[in-house]
Subunit: 342 residues, 2 copies
DNA sequence: AACGTTCCCGACATCGTTTGCGCAAATTAT
DNA sequence: ATAATTTGCGCAAACGATGTCGGGAACGTT
């Protein structure tokens, strides 16, 4: 388990380190025979180039940085899984940073990732982030950047997102078709791309079905603890309370389910509930929760692929684009009114 | 957002880099006035030492490596959360590696972590790992190592674990007290420390309550997909089938719940179910799931604290010990027979 | 006046690797 | 046979920071 350097190989073979280095990277100006010897020796000693030294030199560190709000979250942990799988296959390490939904920490994370000389950066923005100059700096330094899930329209980079509009549209339309008319939407910070897209899908479904969009039915969460209960209370005390809840995240869906049950509101008799979530136990809940599933792992995989493509073909600029992954509507009992009649 | 080096400060102040370096680390042999100037300049330029260069030099990299089987797992993602919180507070970065339950990958991860010159290593063993010489190598190189959750008795290092014996004992006793006599135990690979401890707790509870330990009621999972259904089928076709299931992990608990429901076995009328899990939606399941909760985040925190303590007080060897964090039994409807009578 | 101490600070080597340049030997062209 | 080219390889300088020397200036001591 000793760790050998290029020097060891050089000494072993009685040649210079430059020659070893060039031989290992297959330079044309090295004698094929020498190359063979070097390769053989490197193999024998189980030589692995020191990533630290490489990074310091400014060349590839074969590490990509991932900055996201929270690891302990169904969506993100699955996304990381996808990222890690691709990165591993293509020979990259993943260095993970959590912004904890803080703009401050996100900026610090970016700086640290840069000083660790990552070859590229994969990010999902914190909920506090509205200014993206720290990311523009990354781009200015020519470090590839791919955004996923929570993206910013102000940056001209590749983005990988779920079809938030389509998912929200489908969820809302499903609720309308099952007879709901007052559909509340619990969502997160309004300036986030995903919030806006989901809200737009929700609104479009309402309007295309001849229903009025009512701002009073929208609630914006802040990732605080136990914030869903009060929101539900407020909504249920409206003159015209909601008959359905459409939530925009894992946490909100679970919180809402909990709040509704605590208040003895029966689902789906009193109100329907549908979530935008990656909860893999959704069908084991009481009642089984209808959801719009976003393929978190796939989003992570595609984001990682795009990033590594960019890293490796730096010269030939790859097209900047927004990849939109379809979501899937899964109807379960929490929105299935007929089921109640059984 | 420019990034400055020690050279920039040296040039700015017309002094040498050595002086700047020493001034920054408060060496006694630098004129207080010079120190002040350097500090001030560093502050002004927002100087941050380059972690890569530090690592190369062999000194602290202020990064700790975390190697664990899977990120997308309730327990581990919460543990990472705890680790990251402590690491961040104490100025360390966290580099995460997933072994994907593979011994091969775990060894590769260890090598990579070492070549990235992490200051210390935090590990939970893959389910394939029985040989730990790769970790002994780490210790031989004087790199601090702390194991958590899945630990090995063959290594003389600090370990942080849940009270697996106590938790299993409590769960089993609870089942016995509620009238169960044939308690099946679904667990994971038998050579893992947590498996053995939980099994021992289960067995002790049985024997102290005058019940026979029956090997036929034990099933060992392998992290394969959909493996729980067949296990349940086998058990229910025994001459004397179980009247309760005690599962050793998140995945098994959820899988078991699903399997039992698919087979129309009513919980807890037909069989009770209790899990050893960190599922935070356990009380929203149908039925709400009794669990032994292990404080994943706390385990992560304590492990990180111990590791960083070891890193920073390398000289004075800290005591090696096994920290055992209490678990908590939470009884919900899945094991509450009386509740059925409502 | 000559010597020994302190006090500050700079030159240089170092970590592992890459890379520009140059140099000798081997090969080809004249 | 001499000149021009090619081939194969080594030297040394970087990357950013630290640490080992050692040296000059300003003291105090005989």
């Amino acid at each position: 388990m000793e760790v050998y350097t290029i020097k060891d190989i050089a000494r072993e073979l009685g040649i210079s380190t430059s020659t070893v280095s060039r031989a290992l990277r297959g330079s044309y100006e090295i004698n094929p025979e020498t190359k063979r010897l070097v390769m053989e020796c490197a193999e024998r000693l189980n030589y692995r180039p020191n990533p630290i030294a490489l990074s310091l030199k400014g060349s590839a560190s074969r590490a990509i940085g991932v900055i996201l709000p929270q690891i302990a979250n169904y969506f993100f942990s699955q996304a990381i899984n996808g990222i890690e799988a691709i990165a591993y296959n293509r020979g990259y390490h993943v260095i993970i940073f959590q912004s904890q939904e803080s703009y401050e920490r996100e900026m610090a994370n970016v700086q640290q990732a840069m000083s660790r000389k990552v070859d590229g950066l994969l990010m999902s923005l914190s909920s506090e982030t509205s200014d993206v100059t720290h990311l523009q700096d990354v781009l200015d330094k020519n470090v590839p950047l791919v955004l996923f899930d929570r993206v910013s329209s102000e940056l001209n980079v590749t983005k990988v997102v779920a079809d938030n509009f389509g998912g929200a549209f489908a969820a809302t339309e499903h609720l309308i078709r099952s007879g709901r008319r007052r559909i509340a939407h619990l969502t997160i910070q309004p300036w986030l791309s995903i919030t806006q897209e989901r809200l737009a899908g929700y609104r479009a479904a309402l309007e295309q079905n001849g229903l009025e969009f009512d701002e009073a039915l929208i609630r914006y969460g802040t990732f605080g603890p136990d914030e869903v209960g009060p929101m539900v209370d407020e909504l249920m005390h409206l003159d015209s309370p909601p008959d359905a809840f459409f939530t925009a995240s894992d946490r909100l869906a679970v919180g809402c389910l909990q709040a509704l049950r605590q208040r003895n509101l029966h689902i789906p008799d009193d109100v329907s509930l549908i979530g935008f979530t990656n909860l893999n136990v959704a069908d084991l809940l009481d009642p089984p929760l209808s959801t719009v599933v976003q393929p978190a792992q796939e989003i992570g995989q595609i984001a990682a692929e795009r990033l590594i493509d960019q890293i490796e073909r730096k010269l030939r600029a790859l097209p900047i684009e927004t990849v939109r992954i379809p979501t899937e509507l899964i109807v379960r009992r929490s929105t299935r009114l007929e089921a109640v009649k059984l």
